[in-house]
Amino acid sequence: MRGNAVTHELIAPGNLAAVLELLAAEPGVWTPIAGGTELMVAFAAGRLSAARLVSLWDIPDLRFVRETEESMVIGAGVTFLDLRRHTLLAAELPLLAKAARWIGSIANQGRATLGGNLVNGSPAADSSPALLAYDAEIELVSVRGSRRIAYRDFHTGYKRNALAADELLYAVHVPRRFARHRQYLRKVGTRRAMAISKVALAATALVENEAVSEIRLAAASLAAFPVRLYRTEDALLGQRLTRETIAAARSALLAEALPIDDIRSTAEYRRRVAANLLEEFLLEIAREATRP
């Protein structure tokens, strides 16, 4: 069954205020569409349930990058190609730049937006592990005003999130204080380009006096939505990176991860590969820490 253009309404108010007015006037009625890399796929296959859509594409109020002393602030309408081309962002947030490089193809990167990636909420979302490892905050906006929440609290279930019916994701605030941290991001998929993650792991960590003083671990495709691995972090915090610590961290991850079997991989494979990625990162920083 193919999608039929006549059965879907699409309007493009062209500015943020008008979109927010519309969402406030008829909450839950309008589905925002940005670059269309998710919704147009559903549309073509005849499984787009949204009847009325409002375009966010190229709304200047959403497509910006600003720097404050503490954070890089990235508008929800920024595309992954925008991210790649922004030299300061690439230098400051290497994990996010890396994630941007491996999302789909150049054509996808030029249309897919950071906000779309997060609101779509796929468990395999490419930008999520990096943003979780950087402890990002997100800013939500409506006619009622704006509010900021920790990104780690944004996803509330499979494809569910903290957005109210009249709210839009406005921007992501990524702290700039991770420059001294060891950073890691690796995605395992079927090929280097165009692949959806079987599993991905991101990490930022600080080792001081040979012990882990700070660590954030985040994963894609290990749960119903992108998650921080808090219990695995707990197994590492304050510890020296001995063989025993690394083994304990592996066990914690294996216990904490809740992957599923699906068309892309199996739960067992995801669990094991995620543990291997974690070990790769920990061995890397252990080597650094002991280097004279």
Binding site: A5, T7, L10, I106, M194
Partner: protein
Amino acid sequence: MSACRPTIHMTVNGEMRAVDAPPMKRLLDVLREDLHLTGTKEGCGEGECGSCSVRMNGELVNSCLIPVLQAERADIQTVEGLALNGKLHPLQEAFLQCGGAQCGICTPGMLMAAAQLIERNPHPGMAEIREGLAGNLCRCTGFMRIFESVIAGAAEASERAVEHAHDAR
């Protein structure tokens, strides 16, 4: 408000065009059905294969993923717009000479992705070509010849650019 048909204005291959189409109609279908530019092909219809690649405001896009309303006032280039005054684009010449096309379904998309690549990077290396064309699938699996065509086409394009600069002097 509407599933009614607003008039969409676009520049397509340098010409102003006006199309009456439902706003959710895919740019791909508008190009093929309304503007009869059938060079742009549909492969997967879900942004995975790159057959429908065109350039929109200087960026490579999958036209199957673009509701035509989002192309309002955009500058679109399709494969039909690559040749200039009846002279093939160097990439098109190179695809012919190097055997870069077999069945031809992926070719327009490959050409547009390659054109996008060499405009931003006139002398791409193999890794850059592989990345630039990673979203374009060839089911005849003629990738090596396609990559060789892009290398040859890029070289010819920069030679032409040099000549052009000389002529202009």
